[in-house]
Amino acid sequence: MSCGIALALFVAAAIGYNSNDVLKSKPDDSVQTLSDVDISSNNSSASGMIAIPGYDHLVMKAGQKVQKVELGNPKQNNCYMRIAIMLPDGTQLYESGLLEPGQVLTSIEISQELKPGIYEGAILSYSCYGMEEIKELNGAKTIFKLEVEP
């Protein structure tokens, strides 16, 4: 009899331990890795179109070349993208390689350290290329405000 109670309590203890573990792991399950992030919220783009994301501003840190960003080729696109960042005077800060659909850049190394300030009219350039044959497709330049924090 006592053995039966002990066994039941042991099973209950095991279940209790595991349910605690599940509760702890729930928040982690909801975290998306950056590679899973679809930077456009809609997948309705038809083939033959290229989704171009645009931003009001991007933030970088002064005095360092490595910058944290979140830029990429939207998942619904059917082309490669090359992303370039330029200062308003045309100075190129960064150029990516060919990004596959869904590929997101989270850290980049720019060509020069920046001084703190707001750079109005900076350019985010998207050059697009076919996936079956690497030929240039239409592209776009989006204008944004580059905020460089001290």
């Binding site: 006592s2 053995c3 109670i5 002990a6 309590l9 042991f10 209950a12 203890a13 095991a14 209790g16 331990y17 349910s19 605690n20 509760l23 930077i39 456009s40 919220s41 809609n42 309705s44 783009s45 038809a46 083939s47 033959g48 179109m49 290229i50 989704a51 171009i52 994301p53 645009g54 931003y55 009001d56 501003h57 939207p74 619904q76 059917n78 082309c79 697009c128 076919g130 030929k135 240039e136 497709l137 239409n138 592209g139 776009a140 330049k141 989006t142 204008i143 944004f144």
Partner: protein, 171 residues
Amino acid sequence: MIKRIFTILLATIMICSISPMNAFANQTSGSIAVSYTYSPEYSINIPASISINDGDKFIFSANTMDIGSNKNVRITIDGAATYENGGNFYLYKDKGTENEQRISCRILRGLPSSSSFEDITGLSELVATFTDGNTSPKAYGALKFKPQITSSTPYGTYTGTVYFKIELIDV
């Protein structure tokens, strides 16, 4: 007696397992700073390539247009990257080879619902405007391409690349 002790021990383990251990761990208080910057974002669909046949037109659309009521998204043709010879748009066949051929191509703009289109002549002409929350264009929004073919134009497939300039502007 040993069995009873074992039973009590297991019961204790069970109670400890069910109880949230964090409650015992959080003996000191603390705070974290939470910040969230909500800033305008948008996503515009541009044509990957242009199919040039009579009657074909491309209509711009947006996936997201979360820009605030005091801003518009304006799309113009990036003339510096698209045009040659001070304002001509060319389509090429066998580009970069000794057999290269090119033809001039008119670019026209209009409303998606209209059959009336007008030539774009400037280097930075408006082709579409979007307002907050609308995925369809408010002004213009459709393009047509008309290649200038003559009797001496060689047969073949001609392609060209158009660059667009997209920016947020204050209303």
